[in-house]
């Protein structure tokens, strides 16, 4: 039953431009003066005309297209594989042999066409006919196909058998020689379109396409209207000059060249080559003493610092001295909200509000009134990105303000001095009996637990200025209360 609906399926064959080109060549080959000379093939008592030798085909292609012998042979071979020419003496061997072996041209009905694939129903009819002719002797793969088709198109099976019988009877009305030639043609066609196992399927093209390449689409007003809109919007897009962006890339590459492990080698040694995992151990996330390369990278730009967990740790130390540790804490909490569980979004957002944003909060961050207004409004319906505006503000604050001072601070300089430069690795000898010590790194679950514990300890230990101030205030208040008593 046909139901017209928007077809989203992939069911079009791709463009096969080579078919038309081969067809023109085929038709030129038939010319009595410039074409290929034909011979007659004698089969038993009959003689069937229009056989050509492989050598003649190759010579004709060479002469017509002016290409090398190798190319001509390959091209001729393709003609045979696509089914335009079929071999007579070894029907299953679809290759072109540049000697006296005979070939014949395939009838145009059996030429491959882009718009139609070889149909299953036709194949079933062919197999049924072959069954009748050979009294049940089919090849193994043909038998399998027969049974498979019987199940697949079972509802058409009566028709298949009826049609096979009729076609067989109709074929009897032709001359013996023609019947033989027809048999050869059909067999060659199905060898090309339903290749036996082990043979190369030359017409295979992968997946079907979504759009029909041979469709002639009439462009309506709507189409042109949409096109104009698209181009107008494209013009309005802001673009960076290529000189500027290329300059940026060059600067970036120059800066990071020395820290790239593939381009500039890595110390102590590349673990994939020397089987020595020291490189990974030394560059672990929260290692005690980071490498010098890593610490130097923090000075390139702010995003490098904030990306590296060790860098963040160090930066946090610095910020605590400056009494702006809550900034980084807020930033980290926002990241956690953005990338954490969807189910915990609401409670996390509330916690962050209570801790950082509420007036009189324990770790109150300093953002301007407008951003605060937007954030508070957004928190009525919290989602992952509700704190984006505030987070960006704090990020820019840290970048423009604290980062510069951090790079000049003694904390950073100390870290730089402490940083280790690993020695060029020596290839470790394989121990007794060639056995290597296999060390396994700690499980990621354990690592995560350790991180969370560290964070909790941090949170408990942070003494914020507001807390201090509030403690001082309370002490004063108590003293005041105590005093009058």
């Amino acid at each position: 039953m046909t139901v017209t609906r928007l077809d989203q399926g992939q069911r079009y064959r791709p463009r096969m431009a080579f078919l038309k080109k081969i067809e023109t060549l085929m038709m030129e080959m038939q010319s009595p003066d410039t074409g290929i000379k034909t011979q007659t093939q004698t089969v038993m008592v009959a003689s069937i005309p229009h056989a050509v030798t492989g050598n003649d085909i190759m010579q004709w292609i060479l002469q017509r297209l002016q290409i090398t012998a190798e190319e001509a042979l390959h091209l001729g071979d393709l003609f045979v594989k696509y089914g335009y020419i079929y071999p007579l003496q070894e029907p299953k061997n679809l290759t072109l042999k540049a000697d006296g072996s005979l070939y014949r041209f395939q009838t145009p009905y059996f030429w491959p066409v882009q718009s139609w694939a070889a149909d299953d129903t036709d194949y079933a009819i062919y197999l049924a006919k072959k069954n009748i002719k050979r009294k049940g002797i089919l090849e193994e793969y043909e038998k399998e196909h027969y049974n498979m088709l019987n199940q697949k198109i079972n509802y058409k099976w009566d028709f298949v058998i009826m049609q096979a019988k009729e076609q067989y009877k109709a074929g009897k009305e032709r001359k013996k020689e023609d019947r033989y030639a027809l048999d050869c043609q059909e067999r060659a066609y199905w060898l090309v379109n339903r290749t036996p196992p082990g043979m190369l399927d030359a017409l295979e093209y992968g997946l079907d396409r979504v759009t029909d390449p041979s469709e002639n689409k009439k462009n309506t007003m709507e189409f042109y209207r949409r096109e104009i809109m698209y181009y107008q919007q494209a013009i309005l897009k802001t673009r960076v000059k290529s000189s500027v962006s290329l300059g940026g890339i060059v600067k970036y590459s120059e800066q990071f060249l020395s820290s790239d492990p593939i381009l500039s080698g890595c110390l102590p040694s590349n673990p994939w080559i020397s089987d020595d995992p020291d490189f990974w151990d030394l560059n672990a996330k929260l290692v005690e003493v980071p490498t010098r390369m890593r610490v130097e990278r923090w000075a390139f730009n702010f995003s490098e610092l904030i990306r590296d967990p060790k860098g963040r740790q160090n930066f946090q130390l610095f910020l605590k001295k400056e009494f702006s540790g809550e900034n980084l804490g807020f930033w980290e909490a926002c990241e956690d909200l953005k990338y954490g569980d969807q189910s915990k979004v609401k409670e996390k957002a509330e916690e962050i509000y209570k801790l950082f944003l509420a007036p009189g909060a324990r770790r109150w961050i300093n953002i301007d009134g407008k951003t605060m207004g937007i954030t508070v409004k957004g928190l009525e319906h919290p989602h992952r990105y509700v704190l984006d505006a505030a987070q960006t503000h704090i990020y820019m604050l840290m970048k423009k303000d604290s980062y510069g001072r951090y790079l000049k601070s003694p904390i950073y300089k100390e870290m730089l001095a402490k940083a280790v430069v690993p020695q060029e690795g020596v290839k470790k000898s394989t121990g007794l009996f060639g056995r290597r010590h296999l060390r396994s790194s700690p499980s990621p679950i354990i690592l995560r637990q350790q991180e969370e514990e560290a964070k909790a300890r941090e949170a408990a230990n942070t003494v914020d200025i507001t807390q201090v101030m509030s403690k001082l205030d309370r002490r004063n208040q108590l003293q005041k209360e105590a005093a009058p008593k």
Binding site: M1, T2, M27, Q30, S31, T38, Q41, V43, M44, I48, P49, H50, A51, R104, F105, Q106, T107, P108, Y109, F110, W116, T121, A128, N131, I132, K133, K135, G136, I137, E139, Y146, N147, N150, Y155, K156, W157, D158, F159, I161, M162, Q163, A164, E166, Q167, Y168, K169, A170, G171, K172, E173, R174, K176, E177, D178, R179, Y180, A181, L182, D183, Q185
Partner: protein, 237 residues
Amino acid sequence: MVKEECKALLDALNKVTACYRHMVLTIGGTSDSQNLREELKKTRQKAQELAVANRNKLTTVLKDKTVSKEDKAEFERLWVIFSTCLEILEIDMRRALELGHEFPLNVPKKHLIQTGMSGGTSGVAARAMSVQNMKYEAEHNIDVVDLKDLENEINQVGEMMYEMEMKVNVPQWTVEAKQDPGAELKSTISVGASSIGMISVEENKSFCDISKVLAGIIFTAVLIIAIVLAVCVVKLS
């Protein structure tokens, strides 16, 4: 009664479709000629008449509510056969149109493909039209003139198929075939007549025969040796 009529009509359509397929196979080959194009035209028109007759008969039966369940199943089966036949006919007609455009007969520069066919298709056409001999009466440029008609007829067939789908509600996949796989082998068609057909014998077949013969010989030899030994044993003891 109605069933037999339907079956007969369907058989006729089937026959004409098979003959049409045979004729379309020869377009563009060396047996192509004006006669072939005329035969194609006549066969096609006959096929269309039969198709219309079939459709009318089957639609009246299928719309009839008084038909029994088994009969209804049988008519649905016939309907599926009819629609498949029509699909094949349409495809063949489209191919004929394409090939007709590619291989016009009176253009001196365009040569026909040397396919090895030398005989004509008049026998096939006669079988399709159910006449003894074919009469050719068309003009000599029928190959070009006919193409327009062919296009129209393809559209007609397409419309007919669409109408059929819309009017009659027969899900194709629910029909079960009556014939088992391999049913065509049980037919009483005489196969041995075409001697040339036997020329292209599979190599497997000959190998199978040889191996069978060899096995038989070895078996009989072993049997004879066993008998001789037994006789010797009896004699000596």
